[in-house]
């Protein structure tokens, strides 16, 4: 593969105010650099040297990121394969900035037009490495992205003149060290035929359960390599692999409430995936749980003490706390900025520390989905101490600075096609006040007695939820617990209930954490936000809160099926 590289230092010297580490990039480059890197670099240099608008505007920063993604997915229901897909693609994202580090085309617009710059979108690129094809796409779209950047900067300058002064005067782009790092490119490792047989066999268990109205076992694999070059000298080629098995089963209660339960396995290598016995057991357990829910009494509105299990608590922290730690939300004028002015103030109980550390590959034996070494702006990920002894220290940062945090801490993330924002990686909640889970239960009962409540709640599993951080509408959240028990103060056995939704406002929820257990566990999930769907992890011990509020879930009004399911084989 050929590539044309213009003299790098010369080209870059035309752009003011850059510290440039191309020399370092070349010194460190290794044999494992994919030929694509050379093509990207050559076109980047050419564009940086030659892109100039009629008014003299030039880009001060550019990067090309290519996401090469190989995915395969198999799903089975009742012994039959229902989905069987494979997808291979390479997509290009162009990040191009005009103006300078203090003010550029990504600045928020406060009136008229899209408030945030949308990025280049996801541009298909030749999978086979054909140089002519790739170079033409780079050229064609770079030109398009540059023109829209120039147009947007003009709008921003007008906007700044006619609107009131901005509260947060921080820069638009932080200066960061550039990195050179190469990992081998990855392709899918997936024994499709073998998995198809396994899924058929395991999914057929549901044939014995007429009350399970739908069920599915899905196995998905992802193998990705990200190629990134920037005008600051970044040369990154990073790879990631992950597998996920998802099990779901649904039914409907006699009163029309739809009930579902799910479970998933996550692994970073094929070797660490569960065997058939483990998957079967998990499926059986999901079926048993959803059928138990069908018989469970309805939740009543309740305010009182509760325990969130470790995994439930991890979801709770990710949704309600983690999203409010994302730095750009403190600057965005449409955001509620819950914690914007709380730096160095107490926001959690003294015994809690919270940090986000994408560089953790595993927690115990468990592979973490939120693992990465460099973020989508090429910044090295670091462990970020968000809260120390209950005191808010900083935020999760991309290269978009805010008042208290002028630098990135390697949390600028996106999926292909979106503009980068600050996101979570591996969020970890640690506690200095640990008791055993059995003791935590005792403390729950004591708290019930103190508050004169007949029972407390135990949230064993939470499927997910949403949180509203916008300034429009109330700052609130809702999470959907699936498995909730009443824990009685008088010692009766626990009682499973259904249809409870946790509601509340974020600031007050955190003040009510009383104790934690010594049982941290991992929740591996996919998180959707403005920069796309990303793999994340959250780790937390079980927590006891003095008050939690639940409301009755709105339920479907349609009846269970009129005819019995046709589960008999045709004679």
């Amino acid at each position: 593969m050929k590539s044309k590289v213009v003299p790098a230092v010369l080209a870059i010297a035309l752009v003011a105010g850059l510290f440039y580490s191309e020399a370092a990039a070349q010194a460190k480059s290794e044999a494992s650099a994919h030929p694509l890197m050379g093509v990207l670099t050559g076109e980047l240099h050419y564009a940086m040297a030659n892109l100039v608008a009629e008014d003299g505007t030039r880009p001060y920063f550019m990067s090309y990121t290519v996401y090469e993604e190989h995915t395969a997915l198999l799903a089975a229901t009742l012994g039959a394969i229902t989905r069987d897909t494979r997808d291979d693609q390479r997509s290009l994202n162009i990040d191009l900035r005009v103006g300078d580090y203090t003010l550029d085309n990504t600045h928020q617009l406060r009136g008229g037009g899209a408030s945030h710059a949308s990025g280049s979108g996801s541009i298909p690129l030749a999978l086979d490495g054909n140089v002519d094809s790739i170079r033409n796409a780079l050229w064609y779209h770079t030109d398009r992205v540059f023109k829209s950047a120039v147009k947007r900067l003009t709008q921003i300058k007008t906007d700044l003149t006619i609107k009131v002064e901005e509260e947060d005067q921080s820069d638009d782009f932080s200066r960061e060290e550039s990195h050179v790092h190469y990992e081998e490119s990855l392709d899918t490792v997936f024994d499709r035929a073998n998995w198809a047989d396994r899924l058929r066999k395991i999914s057929a268990i549901a044939r014995d359960y007429p009350l399970i109205y739908s069920s599915q076992i899905t196995v998905g694999t992802f193998a990705g390599t990200r190629y990134m070059v920037s005008s600051e000298g970044t040369r990154l080629q990073t790879a990631s692999r992950r597998y996920r098995i998802t099990i779901t089963a649904t039914t409907k209660a006699e009163d029309g409430m739809d009930l579902d339960q799910s479970f998933d396995f996550n692994a970073a290598t094929a070797d660490s995936l569960p065997n058939d016995t483990e998957i079967t057991a998990a499926f059986q357990s999901v079926i048993d749980q959803v059928l138990a829910l069908r018989e469970a009494p309805l939740a009543e509105p309740y305010i009182g003490p509760a325990i969130l299990s470790n995994r439930a608590s991890a979801v709770f922290f990710h949704e309600i706390f983690g999203h409010r730690m994302e730095g750009h939300r403190q600057k965005d004028v449409t955001e509620g900025q819950t914690f914007g002015k709380k730096i160095n103030k107490q926001i959690l109980p003294k015994f809690l520390d919270v940090y986000d550390d994408p560089t953790m590959k595993k927690y115990g034996d468990c592979d973490l989905r939120g693992y990465y070494l460099f973020d989508d702006e090429g910044v090295r990920a670091v462990r970020v101490p968000l809260v120390e002894s209950g005191i808010l220290k900083t935020f999760l940062m991309s290269r978009r600075p805010i008042e208290h945090a002028p630098k990135s801490n390697g949390h600028g993330r996106r999926s292909s096609g979106n503009a980068v924002v600050a996101r979570q990686g591996n969020l970890v909640v640690e506690s200095a006040d640990q008791v055993t889970f059995a003791e935590l239960r005792k403390l729950l009962i004591e708290e019930c007695q103190r508050q004169d409540k007949p029972y407390g709640l135990y949230f064993e599993d939470i499927s997910g939820g949403f949180t509203r951080t916008s300034r429009r509408g109330p700052q609130s959240f809702k999470v959907n617990p699936i498995v909730v028990y009443r824990v009685f103060a008088d010692g009766r056995p626990d009682e499973l209930i259904r249809g409870a939704d946790i509601v509340g406002t974020p600031l007050t929820s955190f003040e009510k954490i009383m104790h934690t257990a010594d049982d941290p566990a991992v929740f591996n999930g996919s998180c959707g936000a403005e920069s796309g769907w990303l793999p994340v992890s959250a780790i937390s011990p079980s927590i006891l809160v003095s008050t939690i509020e639940i409301e009755k879930r709105t339920r479907g009004q349609s009846r269970p099926p009129f005819l019995e399911p046709p589960l008999a084989k045709k004679q």
Partner: protein
Amino acid sequence: MSFAYMTRLLVLAALVSAAAHAGPVATEPPADVLLEAMVDEMDRSMSRLSFEDLPRPYFMQYVAEDRWTHSISAALGGLLDSGDNRTRVLTTRVRVGSYELDNTNAPPAYGLRVPLPLDDDYVAIRHAIWRMTDADYKRAVETLTRKIAYLKSTNIEDRPDDFTPADPVSYFDSPAHLDFDSKEWEETVKKLSATFKKHPHIQDSVVRMLAGTSTNYLVNSEGTRILVSDTGVYLEIGAATQAPEGMHLSDSLRYIGERLDQLPSADKIMADIDEMCAKLDQLAKTPKLEQYTGPVLFEPIAAGMVFEALFAHAVCARPIPLGSGGGWGDMSLEKKLGLRVLPRSFHVYDDPGPEEYEGTVLVGAYKYDDEGIPATRVSIAEKGILKNLVAGRAPTKKITKTTGHGRTAGYGDAQATTGCLYISDTLAMSPDELRQELIQAARDEGLEYGLRIAAMQPGGYGDLGPPIYAYRVFVEDGREELVRGLEFLPVETRALKRILAAGSERKAYNSLAGVPHSIICPAILMEELDLKKNVEEFDKLPILKSPALRD
């Protein structure tokens, strides 16, 4: 625009509905697990689906589409994408009430759709059908209740019945098969896309290929059992460039066939690409026109697009959906039945039967429509007088019998749609005579030139698409000059009455917009149309030299 973003959905619909192939046909149902599961669950649902005093279904239809497609795309010799996809989708439609009044022709005007297991597993397939039938039945009961309440409070004059009974049909194709060597075709598509390397002025290009097979199952409670197999091949090549002042110009080539050997040779396609690029290059250098009012001559494919925009939709008998305020009725020619709508020498009929027209595969051909009715030939206009409309099983005020034209693009209920519309003129002229007619018409208007449209983009209901290649034909000496920058102002269907002349040579235009259909049409000369300047602002030309021009 970037062709690489072009959706492939549009094409998928076309493939599946492409002409029914002629294979061995059986009248006894084959041993087919999917068919058995559909029939068994329908039988059980029709006999037992009821609850307390809720109305029972009086009619049910299941359609299952089993498709396999492989898509390949490439640009400038590089492979962008290659992969196959297998889907099985079930659409249910449960009707409660009676033929006179049921839950259809009122929102929601669609059945429920659900993916089915891909394995031939009787239990798993039947289970999925059971769930959807239950949901569709409940929805049908709710809709009927709402509809009855609406009718009690609203006065609708001469409301037609909702549905007509039909005789059962049995038809079973043998399974479709397509020998497709994906590696070989990847190389071909790459090679075709590399042709653009010879044309550095083309800024963006893509070659996209789709090949696939489909088996459609249709089962209804009247006893109809249909299994239609089909194969399809589609190749699309798009190119875009800019004129010197920045105007975006694009063109595309499309090849449609049922079998791979119906595609032209790679050499022929590469020659077509060269020709397209040369024409685009020429177009970029031509003058822009500001405005034109006068006679317009449309070459056959462009004329097919004119009839698509102004005529094809208007000759479909579609009931006016409840609560719609009758908006659709304004478009329909139903009220003009028996009146003249075209020149006196024009004849129009629709016949979905023939699968080709002079070597061109017709995407609008089919044997049975999406309501299980055999397609029939319908005489629409004779001597310019509107005689009949194409119809499905939902009656309108004047049309109460289906002609086998109830079709759907996959979502939404079947509705009357043309299949293959044949347009002819008994006074047809040679191409040369037609040109002379254009010149004469321009001269009569005192114009310096007339306009000839050699190619244009497809339009929408009542809107003609923008011309791609328009020529002004000078009255003075008959010379032609390519022009650009014009688009049509809205035109009404009655403009077709003032077609001045038509050609003897006809060509088949295949449309993939919505339900695939074909229009076999001669060149037409229209008396007077208005065109205006299409854009006022242009993107600037690229700042950077393209890689091809750089080295």
